[in-house]
Amino acid sequence: MHGAPLVEIANLSKVYGSFEAVKDVSLLVSSGTIFALLGPNGAGKTTTIRMLMGILVPTSGTARIDGLDCFQDRVEVKRRVGYLPDEPVFYDYLRGSEIIRFSGEMHGLSQEQITERTVDLVKRLELNDALEEFAVNYSKGMKKKLALVCAMLHDPALLILDEPTNGLDPFATRVLHELIREKAAAGKTVFFSTHLLDQAEKLCSQIAIVAKGRLAAHGTLEQLRARLSSDSTLEEIFFSVAGESNSGPVP
């Protein structure tokens, strides 16, 4: 069900002195959609996401989730959002199960709720064996899986995933895609950043392409195709749109 805009980003900018990490980005994400933020390295994807999470303060412009300002009303916003960072780091001396429990308790869930919600998820992601290990000993993919469980624990209306499949093996990637589709079908919204174009093409209903901090293109796959008036793949669209801002020889 595509409903009212859940995420409203209006003229968002983040400037460090003379460097513009994000410049004048405006986006609308309706609830129930799967939204992909595409861009090359250094385009400003992670910066935008961190501004949505209230970790960074916008230099100008606003970011709102469910009508609440992402920085001023960050506590309320976080009740509605689950976040998966690019490279999650956990406490050295906690086991996976303890981290999940801590995360659940901090979101106000009871013990029973936590156990109930994690059992299925953990089995699908094949984290069972590893839960009793110290998180510091996890490989990169396992940390991502653990962070994903923590993000989904409180059943948030919006999932914000920063490069979610980075480090996941093919099995886990497929499970992640299934999960994303299930969430969207249930009316939740998924917002993720990636530079894997085929993944975005398969999953998403809406796409935004950023490069060098600016929004290069925005809309559904059909709209983007219409813009270039050709029946191209996302890859070709990406290169033509993002490549305008990037200079350098084409390989």
């Binding site: 230099t59 901090m106 923590c150 993000a151």
Partner: protein
Amino acid sequence: MIDSQPVSFMQALRLMGWLAVRRQINRWQSVQLGRKKSDPTKRTGTASKSTGRGIYSLFLMGILLFNGFNLASQGLGRLAAFANNVHTPANKIAVSSYTHRKLVEAEVSIKQVRQTTDIDERQKYEGLWDRYLDQVFQGEVSRENLSEDEESAKVQRMHEAFNQRGAEAFSVEFGSQLYSGGHTWPRKDGPALTYQNTLGLLVLVFVPMFICLWLGMNNKDLGQVEWSFEWLYGFPISTRALLASRLFVYSLFNPPVWMFIFPFLIMVYFTGGSGLMSIPLGLIATLYLSVLAGSVTMLLEVLLRKFLSLSQLKNLQALFTVLGTIGLLLYLASLFSQPLEAFLVGYAKALPASFAWNPLSFYLLLGSPTGTPVEAMSVYALMVMIAVGTAALALFFAEFLIREGLLKSSGPYQGVRQQPAETSSTGWLRGIAANEMILLRRDRNLLVQVLVSPLIVVAYYFLVNSSMVASATGNFHHAATMAFVIGSYVLMSSAMPVLSRENKTLWQLMTFPREISSILVEKTQVWAVFALFYAGAILLILAYFNHHLHASALLDAFLALYGVGLYAFIAAGIGIMGTNTLETEVRARFRPEMVYLYMILVAMYSVAIYTPSIWSKFAQIVLSTLLAYALWQKVKDISPYLLDPTEKPTRTLSLADGMIAALAFFVLQGLFGFFFSESMSMPLAMQVVLAYVIAGFLVFVLCLSIFTSQKIPHVWQSVGLSRDPDNAMPIGKVIVIGLAYGSAAALGAIIYLHAIDLVPQGHIWKQDAEMSALLRRADNPLWICGLAVIAAPLFEEFIFRGLVFQGLRRSAGPFWAVLTSAALFAMVHPPFAVIPVFGLGIATALSFQRTKFLMAPIIAHATYNACVIFLNH
């Protein structure tokens, strides 16, 4: 076809050395002062090069060095005196040099008093001086570790001795003014050898101490899953070169060790008469020791990494830290603890002359004034031989160890999936509390720092000073102070790093639907409770052994426990303000200066437990509580911005500004007062007034210019110096309100003055006030009037109402702001006037709250002062 050239041994050494130097410089440069965000030309949170901020760190290093020299100088002087068998004359009572001076002055004044003919006058003054002497003697005996009965007995003895023989009966305490000079090293054979061997004993601890500290918990590298040495091992450089450079880095790049040992060794050579040569000599000796320690450390690092698992390594690291700290404390103790020094000297006397030549101490011979050039040459030769030999041996063994591979096992699982030994249940604790306690249990390093190190400090004090047992059980003041100090020590390693421990996991805390500041508060609470249990247990144990418990013990216990709880927040506040969350290099995250600040604050609070004056105790409690509140106000301001490299919160008026302004005001007053009394000949009253006015004016100007430059919005309005244009109350009304509140306060003062006569204590309070006025020999009332009616209201209202009250109001609300600013205001006045001034504080705050304009409280204050002065004359 390989293009690159093989790297030679010397080249490798040079490259690694450069790498270490570069890393060290980057670390130093990234230490920033305060939470000032880096100049935002960089995209990430990489700390930029600090500009003049390095000066602060240099200043601090300077202080540390100076301290090192000072301590060494005194310690060596005492050791030499012991070696020379110097004692205090038996028929005199030893006191500190300060006390001795005061007694001499007192004797002169009392002689004058005794010559007065008027009997009443004489009795009055003799009584006053008697009470003064009592204070001096009390101050003297409370420095020693005596039980309360012993204290009063000693004070009695001192009074008798003074009455019989005057200041003659006292001598300056042995060691309280001994400094070393070029001739401190004894010249006669017997004492010279004793001195030599004493120092030889003392320095035995250096090399083991270096090794333990270098391998201990400061070595974050050792216990990591990814060891940086592994990375370097991947380069096409010979193992020997790698190991040699490792040794090299350990030997030369450890500043803390240099700070402690280098000054000491320079002083040792200085006492032998080496003059300026002491510096190069000290350098050579320190280098020698560093190379020895560095070789062993390098070897041990490889050895341990090869044969132990990660968790075993971490446990061993904790042990090393404990041992290293004990060593450091022993070294420091032997420089200021007389019993320990006496013990060392006694033991040294029994040692043969050959002891002086052991490899860990023989370099000291270079400083001996009776040494021959032949001896010196052999010492140099031996040093080079031993240093090179040890390094070579270490290299050889290390190479041997790694010939079959650098590690026993690799990867995050270390080859074997460990079965979890204990179940992860936290009982009834939830959330943050559960988290902190699990982490404490599992992190051996933290556990040792938090639980074990404080006990070591206690045990160390008991060992060094055997009368501590008697005093701690005999005198509850000491017991309470000890409980407080140990509690604070526990907090230093648990509550202070509460944010800096978060390191890279802060992101997860920021995904929870809670304000970061509230999460931090909860963490601090956990540690406060923890430290309270610790301190409480110590109090109970000491109370059990104490046979003379007075009612005041309850007060002391309350002070100690309140202090521990409060200082959890002070430690955490200081720690949070001093942590650079964006800094990834662990050592540069937290500024060590903060630890010194904390220790100073702990010492200040301990004084409150000792002081007999209830008013001082109360004052200290109020001040400390306000300090904690001011710190956390700042923490709440900055906590949403913790992970943002460039944004900071809008600068608003805070309680901290008011407190700093008040502090600056009094410090400047004191400074100017001192300056005037020393250099100009003015009547005392005029000095006081001038100092007051200049200090007040300076604070006023400085505050406003700083606030303006920091871009506080609506500066003049927020301090009450201008009115809100939309909402301005007419001036007439302001004046009337001011007069009204001022008169109300004056009325309260009148009632107080009459009521005080009815209370038996009241006479003594009045007398005390007169005595202090007498001792200051103030005269010329007209100046005081001017001061009271014009200058005092202006400056005091600006600071206490404009700054303190306003800063407090935005977070605590008007009710608490009024009460607290009035309390702070009252505390800075003499004890006699505290209650009516408190009333005045409330009245002025209320008038400011109503009018939002400083004119009202100024008028109120002026009215009050005028009434009070009028009444007194």
